[in-house]
Point group: C2
Chain length 430, copies 2
């Protein structure tokens, strides 16, 4: 754990160094991915089957061997213990209810001259959800990606999930069943992204691809961006906790661990207004670390990228939060809503002692796909709105065309675009 103090003359430089993270794209990975994408675009299913057999240790004869039916998803759900079934259902219901509030609706208004203006909101036709396989199989990620699309009204939600050596994860498939996924292909990597982006004989072309993946998946998503929409390419996960000392130190210690256990490059930072509280949290961490099965990962993460920051007061802490623009911000303070108003940049704001980040990760309702690496300065949590889009609506009345036509023609002539001007002028009565 690094220790920073806002009163140090080097604080700004130390903070910048703490946040620095090299996100350079590997040209070697890019080249491999370019080859795979081109091959899938050209040869379709045959290429997808070959890459899947090679990279995932499968022995598929055709895409039929890599396609799951709705019945298989349902069976996976029914094989689960009752408490897990209930937990999945509860989480999905809460996420659905929250995301219904985000649904955009069409709107119009009419000018005094009868001209109608507005926007028509429609759902995307078909989207692809990428779900990582293997060791990091996250059913919560299936719910968080598929449910907003389902709520938006997307008719076809295609999930891809690699099953290395044929190993399927029942909870992941059950989550797909619960979250409204319409079709699952057991493929992954750049080949799965390319199949969704370009379409193959079996895999339908989608309009947008969301969901996390490794460096090959990220490079493939960057490559197909423009052909289809993509969500952000995510960086390492981060938490910033601001504490005024009112939350038990054990709780905060465990919240920092829950971020650090993701991987060695995850970042957990605690800002407190007293050294005594920072010491209490350190003591709690020393005591609790022994209980953690992922101890080695937690320790590496905290050593590499973790920090304690001692701030003068909560105002200063909020200013630092706005600079960091953290993915997750816990305001573990009294009157948290008052302090939340001072936060301009954060993916999600967890307010008060009882709001552990992990409640939000799974089932509070809001999405856990959040902007990382300071991108909360300009981007938002994944939401229903990411699976809807807008078309401008314009119906100019005859009277409106008289007024607007003169303005448009003047400006068009100023831009030397005569046909633009003439198109407006032809609609003028005299």
């Amino acid at each position: 754990m690094k220790h920073l103090n806002t009163q140090s003359p080097d604080f700004q430089a130390e903070l910048k160094a703490l946040l620095a993270f090299e996100t350079a794209q590997d040209p070697k990975i890019d080249q491999i991915v370019a080859g795979i994408c081109a091959d899938v675009q050209q040869r379709g299913d045959a290429a997808v089957v070959e890459y899947t057999n090679r990279f995932d240790g499968m022995a598929a004869q055709s895409m039929a061997d890599l396609t799951l039916t709705q019945a298989e998803l349902q069976n996976a759900f029914e094989r689960l213990p009752a408490d897990v079934q209930t937990a999945l259902k509860t989480a999905a219901e809460r996420v659905e209810r929250y995301h219904l509030r985000q649904k955009l609706e069409s709107w119009t208004y009419t000018d005094a001259d009868g001209t109608l203006l507005g926007q028509q909101i429609t759902a995307l036709d078909r989207v692809g959800i990428y779900v990582p396989g293997g060791k990091a199989a996250y059913p919560s990620s299936v719910i968080m990606n598929a449910m907003p699309a389902h709520v938006a009204g997307v008719q076809e939600i295609i999930m891809v999930v690699p099953t290395p050596k044929g190993g399927r994860n029942d909870i992941v498939l059950a989550a797909a069943y619960i979250a409204g996924v319409t079709k699952v292909f057991t493929i992954g990597g750049a080949q799965a992204v390319a199949a969704l982006a370009y379409g193959t004989e079996t895999v339908p072309q989608v309009d947008k691809i969301t969901g996390p993946g490794n460096a090959f998946v990220a490079a493939a998503k960057r490559r197909v961006f423009g052909v289809v929409g993509i969500d952000m390419v995510a960086g390492p996960s981060e938490i910033l906790v601001i504490a005024d000392g009112s939350t038990p130190a054990d709780w905060v210690a465990m919240d920092l661990f829950s971020q650090a256990e993701h991987d060695e490059i995850a970042q957990a930072i605690l800002i407190a207004t007293s050294q005594a509280y920072l010491d209490d949290v350190q003591t709690a961490m020393n005591r609790l670390i022994g209980e953690m099965p992922r101890r080695a990962i937690i320790e590496a993460s905290l050593r590499n990228r973790g920090a304690f920051i001692l701030a003068e007061d909560l105002n200063e802490a909020c200013e630092i939060a706005n600079y960091i623009a953290p993915e997750h911000l816990e305001l573990s303070v009294e009157n948290p809503q008052q302090w939340a108003q001072k936060i301009r940049h954060a993916g999600a704001i967890f307010m008060g002692s009882y709001t552990s980040e992990s409640l939000g990760d799974y089932c509070a309702g809001p999405n856990h796909v959040l902007p990382t690496s300071r991108t909360a300065r300009f981007s938002s949590p994944l939401g229903t709105y990411d699976f809807q889009k807008r078309s401008s609506l314009i119906q100019v009345s005859e009277a409106g065309a008289q007024k607007l036509g003169k303005t448009a023609a003047t400006l068009a002539h100023g831009e030397m675009l005569t046909a633009h001007a003439r198109a407006a002028e032809l609609r003028l009565k005299d």
Copy 2:
């Protein structure tokens, strides 16, 4: 002009060929841009001044020579003829009024157990607007990019516009004055994009960059995406007109010209339900082309990428429109609102005879920055919402933590994330 008929057995293939457009990125341009970006990131102002002098034929000593004051913008406005001043003001006011309707507002709701959920909406702090210089100087583009940011509440709107050989465009600067731009630098190209993305001694780092540019600008925007937000990298502009014959053929002919006059790769397509009407429009085009100063560009565009499509009926025409997902769609038909409901994918829908695209380009109110190249399948017009972002709000009550904690812990254990589970369990009372 190509002629397609939906009854032809080759129609689908012909339509696909018509829309095909090679958007491959030039690796040579990418390499040059990578060098410029790295140089600006490292050397700041000095590099920006050097590139500007070299590429734009300037003789600046420092960034001070490349900075315009608010007074200079005002002077540019005051030098304009009265009718142009009025047209700019009218356009800006209408665009402002429309974009105010798009402003997102924070929202929350509270569960029965006292848990509060919602989203806090904030504006971006600072954005950059890229405005091309030289021959294609578009004041309308300044208004369409800056006004939504201004309406969103962005505090600093930094415009960059190259002034090759020192030539400044008064209308462009006047538009900046009217649209709420806070600062202008007379720089362009990849060096301007890099300066905005990384910040220099003089140019403040922004959170998002929008606005059109040449291949170097587009490559630079792609490169800095992630460090800052960007709008879409736009392809060639397109219009699709669906006509039932109720609009004078001259008007439709001029609307097709107004798209074609942008450049040789712009695309203008007309779908009609009768051959006679297509013939009328062709006759009108033959008659009107002589009046067009940009005749050569129009003819090249129509020859390369223009088309007439004969459809069976308006239902079929709308299906084709949904496949094309055009940037601009004119429904030049009776009862256009009824047909608009069948449109799932279009950047902007212009309804009825009087609604020429050019009215929307300048002053109807909606934005003229629209998704091109079929990306209306998954993206939206530039809007106020592009300069706002959301932070999830979660405040779990003590009672809520008891209920949610069990669900979260069950799912976290299922993902082998023990610290996530423990963080939830520590908040349980028993």
